[in-house]
Amino acid sequence: MRIFDPHIHMTSRTTDDYEAMHAAGVRAVVEPAFWLGQPRTSPESFYDYFDALLGWEPYRAAQFGIQHYCTIALNPKEANDPRCTPVLDELDRYLAKDRVVAVGEIGYDSMTPEEDEALARQLQLAVEHGLPALVHTPHRDKTAGTRRTLDVVRESGIAPELVVLDHLNELTVGMVLDSGCWAGFSVYPKTKMSEDRMIEILKEFGTARVLVNSAADWGRSDPLKTRRTADAMLAAGFDDDRVDTVMWRNPVAFYGQSGRLELDPCPDEPGRDEDATFQGNSIRRGGA
């Protein structure tokens, strides 16, 4: 089984996670830029973070046979902090990079005017760079927030097939699929979405334009939730082809719209990516 996790924050995960993910079939991931738990207080902290998403993290991933791409944005939470908003002026530079396959995570957290401004501006950047957009839906007041997000997406003029709305649930999936956007689901141990609920949604809405991710980060989360959902799909009677649609072909089709997803055909051996180290495997040797 081959798995592409379209939303996972590997910066917060260990090398054990990378090994377990590879063993479970994960061969590619997209890591969206998001907030780090600890608020940042200057734009420079973001640039170092973006550089890590483009540099050290793909290097780390490649050593475990996993191809790593990222999305870049100022996240909604920190869009409310005037110390961080200058980041918006520097995003052009990062959105030009090869491994950046979307603008994201953008969207609403508390639905403030500052978040309105950041969301609209960053959707515009996606249009200018010909990139898809990964839009997070708010955890509080989700249904109203999703509706408002869809309005802003429509006003921005970006093609709906270039947009995924993420962290959806039973109440928000219908309006998102009706809008022509992609529907993203974050399967989490306790909150957001479970494997069982995911199966019911797939039965009702089908597998087209659906992305399933673990959204694993620094909180209580599980980087193998993609595999667990795939297993639950098989147990529920979905065939291999439909599992492959959800777990591989859909994320490839969505992020492939960037024109920058140069996937090697599922490397079996860690380190086959030409960017990877050839022998000096400093991470697995425990550093040097």
Binding site: L54, G55, W56, K97, R260, D275, T277, F278, Q279, S282
Partner: protein, 230 residues
């Protein structure tokens, strides 16, 4: 210096091989990009990041991949010298992803920079990405990196298992102090029951007194397999 360095001294931009490797669209893009940069140098900031997806990333020669060579074409098109050139190169490196940074590092010896790009080399050598460390230790570092830093860089390569035959000029730059450091490294490895990399032997052997001063076990290790000596 007692062992011939297997590397040619200056890896020029392989224009002929590059042109042959590019399809028509990529060739046109690269020609236009170079002309644009010559006319308007700041344009390199947007063209440099795009070069890899426009031109490709396959290996071209022992020294260059297609993207690195294409980016070398762009860098050498900059109508700048001295500090103005160093500023632009430093900026491209600072804001570059690893592929861009490798291209900058590999092109340094072809640019009129004197010592001005040493901070760029040091930046790469401080990190843990072996592809960047290897790219940083090219002819530019051989020519300009001070002795103490060069020795530390070679030792770091040994730690990170970067084969020393990929390190430009190592046999030219090797001195008695580097040989001593490598012999001490071998001693640590032997004490830990770990392998001693083969490729440090020719460097240490060039300094027979270092070997003769080393403990017997180290001397034996470093002198073994004489037939493998290049």
């Amino acid at each position: 210096m007692s062992v011939a360095d297997p590397f040619p001294p200056t890896p020029a931009v392989p224009h002929t091989a590059l042109r042959a490797a590019l399809d028509t669209a990529a060739r046109v893009w690269l020609d236009e990009a170079a002309a644009t940069i010559t006319a308007e140098p700041a344009a390199i900031r947007r063209l440099f990041p795009a070069a890899r997806r426009r031109c490709g990333r396959a290996r071209l020669t022992e020294h260059w991949t297609v993207d690195e060579a294409a980016r070398a074409v762009l860098l050498t098109a900059l109508p700048r010298t001295g500090p103005a050139l160093a500023d632009e190169v430093t900026l491209l490196h600072r804001h570059g992803d690893p592929a861009e940074q490798r291209a900058v590092l590999r092109t340094l010896p072809l640019l009129d920079l004197g010592e001005l790009a040493l901070p760029v080399v040091r930046d790469a050598l401080r990190g843990n990405d072996t592809t960047l460390i290897e790219a940083a230790l090219g002819p530019y570092a051989t020519a300009h990196l001070p002795d103490a830093e060069y020795r530390q860089a070679v030792l770091k390569c040994v730690f990170y298992e970067i084969p020393l035959d990929r390190v430009h000029g190592v046999h030219t730059r090797a001195d008695r102090e580097l040989a001593r450091m490598l012999a001490a490294f071998a001693q640590e490895r032997i004490a830990a029951g770990r392998d001693v990399p083969q490729d440090i032997r020719p460097v240490v052997r060039a300094f027979p007194d270092v070997i003769s001063e080393a403990p017997a076990a180290v001397e034996k290790q470093l002198k073994s397999d004489l037939k493998e000596q290049i």
